[in-house]
């Protein structure tokens, strides 16, 4: 093997990291305000949520499937949490546990139906998206929960590290480390990946693929619910529309982060830190575009161009490293 280039340099993560640094430089020099405390704090909160949403999608992409119900599920869990705290007066810590359990349960439904009926997760989650969101709207009558305990909402506006960083970001980063650990250093994590990569071979090697797929969906539900709680803390209320109609607003960031991060859409490969960097990159670009005055109506256009540029650059990097590792 070629030792001139360290292994890390060959990864997609490295490419992303470089891009992130480049964009930070560009934006810090070309705009005022990018490095302001307010802006960095705001960024840290946005990134925190995008990471969590991206991870929630990533663990289902791992199975070669999709979770379109992500947003609907997250909002339903958040509303459930709002109801627990406001209407039932359940303490925060217990509420959080209940919400995460609830999210996992909804994820379990996705997984169970997918595995048992053989209907594709794309369709199953398309349907459950409608169903979860419908029930949520029906039960809450589209009313928000606003009288949440102050300790909870204060957490969402807490400022750490000299008021630069939101604690939400710390939760997300911690989650990344935990997931990384699970996928890299546990039996179960390896089995999840194996099942996602080649279900038939995994099954014949003594892995219960159905169970693994259900676990993935449950984990996705868990993470989406966590994202729901974080968003609730951030906006200080549990609101039915906080992820848009049917939870759609979450879908794009959910795909962008893992896909930029190098997660294979065909399943069997996860990149936890890639997803994190992907989320950071997208948030940075979005923020930077608002700061550089491109005209709001053109923001999307430039975001698209930059995204395309980013993936093309990454491909070039890959090409270059592969070429360099050829023995001659």
């Amino acid at each position: 093997m070629n030792n001139k280039i360290p292994n890390f340099v060959k990864t997609n993560q490295f490419g992303l990291l470089i891009l992130v640094i480049v964009f930070i430089c560009i934006f810090s020099f070309s705009t005022d305000g990018f490095t302001s405390r307010f802006n960095i704090y705001a960024l840290s909160r946005v990134v925190a949520l995008d990471i969590m949403i991206g991870l929630a999608m990533m663990v289902v992409i791992l199975t070669g499937g999709l979770n379109l119900s992500l947003g609907a599920l997250g909002v339903s869990a958040a509303m459930f949490g709002g109801w627990c705290m406001e209407s039932m007066g359940i303490p925060i810590s217990i509420t959080i546990i209940l919400v995460l359990a609830f999210g996992s349960f909804l994820g379990w439904i996705n997984g169970f139906v997918t595995v048992r009926t053989g209907v594709h997760s794309f369709i199953v989650t398309l349907a459950t998206m409608s169903i979860y969101f419908g029930f949520m709207t029906l039960l809450t009558e589209a009313e928000a929960f606003r009288k949440l305990p102050e300790a909870f909402t204060d957490f969402g506006s807490l400022k750490l590290f000299n008021k630069y960083i939101s604690p939400l970001l710390i939760i997300s980063v911690l989650t990344c480390f935990v997931l990384y650990y699970i996928f890299k250093y546990t039996d179960i994590g390896r089995k999840l990946i194996a099942a996602g990569a080649n279900p038939d071979a995994a099954e014949l090697s003594g892995i219960s693929v159905d169970r693994m797929f259900i676990y993935c969906h449950m984990l996705s539900g868990f993470l989406a619910a966590l994202a729901g709680i974080m968003l609730t803390a951030r906006i200080g209320a549990a609101i039915p529309s906080m992820a848009g109609h049917l939870g759609f607003d979450w879908l794009l960031p959910a795909f962008l982060a893992p896909v930029l991060g190098g997660t294979l859409l065909s399943g069997g490969k996860v990149t936890v830190f890639g997803t994190m960097l992907g989320a950071i990159l997208v948030t940075l670009i979005n923020n930077g575009l608002y700061l550089i005055d491109v005209g709001e109506f053109w923001v999307r256009f430039f975001l698209g161009i930059i995204l395309l540029g980013a993936v093309l650059l990454d491909r070039a990097r890959e090409y270059f490293t592969v070429k360099n590792s050829i023995v001659s």
């Binding site: 209907v119 398309l126 693929v209 896909v259 930029l260 859409l265 065909s266 399943g267 053109w298 999307r300």
Partner: protein
């Protein structure tokens, strides 16, 4: 008979027939001419959109930018007529050209870089939609020639709208393409197994670019048909296409990993989705229940149609290996 049973559209056809009979027993208005007219209209529009996605599914990819292309073409089409007072035919041609160009961009970048189409079209979704918003600043265009309005709203005879003509032609052409031409067969072969088809000598470049160009053209046609129907060119056209564009082919038995699509079954899928959403209105479902019903109906429809393939389908992935 057993050959019939194997067809993807057979189960769906049965569901459609029994469903329609059931609905019209409860609500005779369902088979009133006006309702059929409305049904045909909504089917017509979605049919083109579903075909636009279907051809990309056939080669085992996804096109997230169908709606964005449709929207961009819709506002270009109307914009040309309103701002530049262009007449209809050149405006249509330019609209098609834009669709073709967008599709070409998607296909070319995908095949030349080897990056998954999902990612490329996600990026071009932003680009096309961004151009749309940048050009219009979210303002609709209203000045539509009478002929266009007429085409969108007049009937040929009975309840049959003019608007169905183009979608029907497209469906027939798509059937021929996918079943009777080598281009179509090569697309399916490519969707089945990229490596194998390359070894056989099928050119990936050609297949991928053609598929995306056709998809772009169909999205463009869809966008312009919606303009005819709505009689205005709003930048929002295409925003709501994405999920239905997948739902119809998939309900029709398409495998998202590629290599298996069925034109007739996709058309039936479109009809089914339209009937379900119409039934929700006809039965006056409480708005708070609509989403829940919709979810269960989709699940049920797919489940009935898919049950036969239980084993084969169980672990099909959404994406084929890249």
């Amino acid at each position: 008979m057993s050959a019939l049973l194997k067809k993807d559209w057979f189960g769906l056809g049965l569901v459609l027939i029994f469903g329609s009979i059931l609905i019209s027993l409860f609500k005779p208005a369902f088979i009133s001419p006006f309702n059929l007219y409305v049904l045909m209209l909504s089917v017509s529009l979605m049919l083109v959109v579903a075909m636009s996605q279907m051809i990309i599914i056939a080669i085992g990819q996804m096109n997230l930018s169908v709606g964005a292309i449709g929207g961009l073409v819709a506002i270009s089409f109307t914009g040309l007529m309103e701002v530049y007072s262009m007449s209809i035919l050149p405006a249509v041609l330019i609209g098609l050209l834009i669709g073709l160009a967008c599709g070409f961009i998607n296909g070319y970048i995908t095949v030349k870089t080897g990056i998954s189409a999902f990612i490329i079209t996600l990026a071009t979704l932003y680009i096309f939609k961004g151009m749309n918003l940048g050009i219009t600043e979210a303002q609709p265009f209203y000045e539509i020639p009478e002929a266009v309005k007429f085409f969108g709203n007049a009937k040929i005879f009975g309840p049959i709208p003019y608007l169905v003509i183009i979608p029907i032609i497209i469906t027939v052409l798509m059937w021929i393409l996918m079943n009777r031409t080598s281009l179509g067969r090569y697309m399916l072969a490519y969707g089945n197994n990229v490596q194998s088809s390359e070894l056989i000598g099928i050119s990936s470049t050609k297949i991928v670019i053609y598929a995306h160009v056709i998809s772009g053209l169909l999205a463009a046609i869809g966008g312009m048909l919606v303009v005819c129907r709505l009689q205005l060119g709003t930048p929002n056209i295409g925003d709501s296409w994405l999920l239905p564009s997948f739902a119809a082919p998939v309900i029709g038995g398409a495998i998202l990993a590629g290599g298996k699509v069925d034109v007739i079954a996709t058309a039936f899928g479109v009809i089914l989705v339209s009937i379900i959403s119409q039934a929700l209105v006809i039965f006056k479902i409480d708005p708070f229940f609509v989403q829940i019903f919709l979810g269960f109906m989709i699940l049920l429809a797919v489940f009935i149609n898919r049950y036969r393939e239980y084993r084969e389908e169980r672990r099909t992935k959404v994406f084929s290996d890249e």
